[in-house]
């Protein structure tokens, strides 16, 4: 990098070695990182070996791997993991499909009148706090006064459904809200992916009168796949950690119909106050998140290598 002799000399003259300068730059961030991440992480790791209920006023009791063993043997935990993955896969699947369609539609109308405002309206759901979006839908799904149950009643002639209170429909209702919130994201990624295709190549394809599917397969996919897959990965990670939306809408209920991992974690820690088991589960979740991040980075690195070769 920059530490050739001439530069180093100049810095010594300025009274600050290159190394010291470099460290001064990153020390503030390292300080924050240590206090707010390293320390809590070690604390979490330590706690996961203890039985500890802060509300009981008893000192923590060392269990060794006890918490992990009881987690592995807890069928509920596996059920939560199942629920999380069902939610994640269906949400990302539907959003990608719909996003692709809408992405093509919006991409084909680049000279749309008032495009900026239209895109603002389309993208507005994804910048809402999930808690706020969940709150909106509590009103919209309300069994007595909500708009959606009213129109379901009006069009299908069935009695007004209690969408969030029924264990068969709660997951669907939450999924629908997530789809509403995040389809715009996949739409955006599709528009960006299509924007990455060079104009000249697209024109050549239309001169050659390629069919739509051929155009997608041989012209758009090679250029756009990176951005599109990146979108899918980011969305998968985000869907995995969905918390606010479900917390505001159902808090995991009714029963455990919408009880995803992040909701379970919150409950272990702040409702049951089982800090030890909560920590063990948190570490497990952390591990999954780190695995996702690795996939994401691996994907980015591969892309760089591809671009160089």
């Amino acid at each position: 990098m920059n530490n050739d002799g001439g530069q180093r000399l100049r810095f010594m003259r300025q009274g600050l070695s290159l190394k010291a300068f470099a460290w001064i730059l990153i020390i503030p961030v390292l300080a924050f990182f240590t206090i707010w991440n390293v320390v809590p992480f070690l604390w979490l790791l330590g706690l996961s070996f203890y039985r500890y209920y802060p509300t009981f006023g008893q000192p923590p009791k060392f269990l060794g791997l006890g918490n992990y063993i009881s987690l592995m043997n807890d069928p509920n935990v596996w059920e939560r993991i199942g629920t999380t993955f069902i939610f994640m896969v269906s949400a990302v699947g539907i959003e990608t499909g719909l996003g692709l369609v809408l992405g093509f539609v919006f991409w084909s109308r680049r000279a749309l009148w008032g495009r900026r405002l239209a895109l603002t309206l389309l993208f507005s759901p994804m910048v809402l706090a999930p808690v706020a979006a969940g709150t909106f839908f509590r009103l919209i799904y309300d069994p007595l006064y909500g708009v959606v149950p009213y129109y379901i009643h009006a069009f299908f002639g069935v009695p007004k459904p209690n969408l969030l209170g029924n264990s068969h429909t709660a997951m669907l209702a939450v999924l629908a809200t997530d789809v509403w919130m995040w389809t715009p994201f996949m739409t955006m990624m599709t528009i960006a992916a299509l924007g990455a295709v060079p104009k000249a190549v697209l024109e050549a394809a239309s001169v050659d009168r390629l069919k739509f599917w051929q155009r997608v397969r041989y012209v758009m996919w090679p250029y756009g796949k990176f951005i599109l897959l990146l979108g899918v990965i980011l969305r998968t990670i985000d869907a995995f950690k969905t918390y606010g939306l479900i917390a505001a809408m159902t808090a995991g209920g009714p029963g455990n119909a919408t009880d995803v991992l992040s909701i379970t974690l919150y409950r272990e820690g702040f409702v049951s106050f089982d800090m030890g088991k909560g920590s063990a589960l948190a570490l497990f979740t952390l591990f999954i998140a780190v695995a996702f991040t690795s996939v994401y980075l691996y994907f980015l690195k591969n892309r760089e290598r591809e671009a160089i070769s």
């Binding site: 460290w23 919006f106 990624m189 960006a192 991040t293």
Partner: protein, 297 residues
């Protein structure tokens, strides 16, 4: 003089052409209109909340739902008369601005360091920083909660702002390092040959070249901090409560939910977000993809 005559057949042809043009123009209009309809459909749930903010409680809960009504400011004025509302608004703005400016400031330093110098474990730090943002909040909140209670940091501005600074750092470093890597080191070298000090090089020569990155980092971290509710609810308290936390706690009352209040608060909460994505739309893509995809949509 050459007599000028109009070829009648050509005239017919051009008329047919005009009709075809007109027809295709109508078709274009219809396509444009249907795209607008899609955009508005996605906005509909928010529109419903916005409309509710201007209704009386009876109108909000009216069956069948009312789309047309005489708007009233009753809900908004009632909310504005409450002291708590102004606390939420102040907290939201104050915490968001302070945390994001501190975070982007120190992240710029660190990103410059990581981009220009080789640190042992630098890549690993980048990886860990990214991982932090991928971990569900409810997994990392437990030890933070214990730490905050042990140190007495709960419900203090310093405590919550410091947390939000750390919350913003990963995104800021990732996006700024991406932009900094794109600025050739020759600029640094040339500036030094001209006798610029290290700090002056950094702020006068390099910083202006990555302004789009700074804007994206500031805007998107502002959105994230503005929206952050889990940590504020657990590590904070009444003093530092922000709008989304107030929204959520408004849902958990025993005396029945005051929908007029919730709708009015949601309205106040959503409008700045929508204004931001209208005015900063070209940063949306880079903001939502952690700085990995640049370009406009």
């Amino acid at each position: 003089m050459i007599p000028v005559t109009l070829d009648p057949s050509r005239d017919e042809e051009s008329q047919a052409n005009m009709r075809a043009v007109k027809r295709s123009r109508i078709r274009e209009r219809i396509k444009d209109l249907s795209v607008w309809v899609i955009a508005v459909l996605f906005f509909l749930p928010e529109l419903w909340i916005f409309l509710s903010a201007f209704k009386t409680p009876q109108q909000i809960l009216a069956v069948p739902p009312r789309w047309i009504f005489r708007p009233t400011l009753q809900g908004l004025t009632a909310m504005a008369k409450e002291g708590a509302f102004w606390t939420y608004v102040f907290n939201s703005f104050f915490i968001t601005f302070t945390a994001v400016f501190v975070a982007v400031g120190i992240s710029f330093l660190a990103a410059y360091g990581l981009s220009r110098f080789r640190f042992r474990g630098g890549d690993f730090l980048m990886f860990v920083l990214l991982s932090i943002r991928m971990v569900p909040g409810s997994a990392s909140i437990l030890p933070l909660f214990l730490m905050y209670t042990a140190l007495g940091w709960t419900n203090t501005y310093a405590g919550i702002i410091a947390f939000d600074v750390m919350f913003s750092i990963p995104f800021a470093i990732w996006i700024l390092k991406g932009y900094l890597d794109g600025v050739s080191q020759r600029f640094d070298e040339a500036a030094q040959v001209d006798g610029f000090s290290r700090w002056r090089t950094m702020f006068r020569i390099i910083l202006p070249q990555i302004l789009p990155g700074i804007v994206a980092a500031v805007i998107f971290n502002m959105i994230f901090v503005w929206n952050e509710s889990l940590f504020n609810a657990i590590l904070g308290g009444n003093t530092v409560q922000t709008i989304p936390v107030a929204l959520q706690s408004g849902l958990n009352t025993i005396n029945g939910i005051n929908w007029q209040y919730i709708a009015s608060l949601s309205f106040v909460y959503t409008v700045p977000l929508m204004a931001t994505i209208y005015f900063f739309q070209k940063y949306l893509l880079v903001g939502m993809t952690f700085g990995t995809v640049r370009g406009e949509i």
